[in-house]
Symmetry: C2
Subunit: 175 residues, 2 copies
């Protein structure tokens, strides 16, 4: 059975919407996802505001409240019938996320056993056939086939098969 690793933020968890909501509320602005075409949020907000964005992300309630990406639960359940599915997130970059991410997965993806959850940093450590991730830096390190999950910041990235939503993941792996 082939193995698929699936990233969390921007793939099954909508972190960007929460980032923008907190940023806009804090600074009274109206940045939208469309404004981020080809850029991370860090690239469009001025440097003196980075610490605020960073503090939002490192708070004790950022990751726990994220919205589930549409169809990701249904499609992951289907994938489990034909593939070995692991969730693999670069949680080591944000230690405050450890418990939040664990509870979030238990709540929204209870059908993923904890034995199939991985917190890592460098995703080159994963032994899998596929990695679905929005971050090209991680896909470059990964030694299986990287599948790029579309997010505004990676709009201009090429060199990977790309999926724009979970219906496209379903089509790609279950045809």
């Amino acid at each position: 059975m082939k193995r698929i690793c699936v990233d969390m933020d921007e793939v099954i968890a909508d972190a960007l919407t929460e980032h923008l909501a907190r940023y806009n509320e804090h600074f009274g602005e109206q940045i939208t996802a469309e404004d981020l075409h080809g850029k991370w949020i860090w690239d469009v907000v001025s440097t003196d505001r980075h610490s605020v964005v960073d503090r939002h992300m490192r708070s004790e309630d950022f990751f726990e409240v994220l919205t589930v990406m549409p169809e990701s639960q249904r499609v992951l359940r289907r994938l489990q019938m034909n593939y070995e599915v692991f969730i693999a997130t670069a949680a080591m970059e944000v230690p405050t996320s450890f418990n939040q991410k664990y509870r979030w997965l238990a709540k929204h993806f209870p059908f993923i056993p904890s034995s199939h959850i991985v917190y890592c940093g460098d995703k080159g450590i994963l032994r899998a056939d596929y990695l679905i991730d929005d971050n090209p830096r991680q896909l470059r390190r990964f030694q299986g086939e990287g599948i790029l999950y579309s997010s505004p910041h990676n709009a201009n990235v090429t060199g990977y098969r790309r999926v724009k939503d979970w219906l496209e993941v379903e089509e790609l792996f279950l045809g």
Copy 2:
């Protein structure tokens, strides 16, 4: 550069001594490591006491106070010069350990970057040439070469190259 994954409990962190200390204090007994030849602590204490041992392990201060295995720091530093070294621990089995393990590693192994720390469940997910681990169940799942780190519970396990301490790890990989 070849990659080595290194387990935490019973390999770089002396969890067994802490388990026995808490158990003996709680029940007024004197179980020693020698009593565990070929057995896990769960096999030698009566079933009605398992919940106490489990509660000890899941407390907020169990993993943080563990003693570092002799020579492990020095040898891991040396290994880093010739190998890519990752720490890989089955932390998903004990979520209360997430933050404790992170702080413990930062304190005792600050030369291991957080990008090279992995919390997982099933170590079959690791892409590495070697895994040094005391748990034969994990070594069986791992797809590189498993190196069995001696611990009382695995005294009778065969089928792997075995190291009894960090001097033997040093000899094996740098000898």
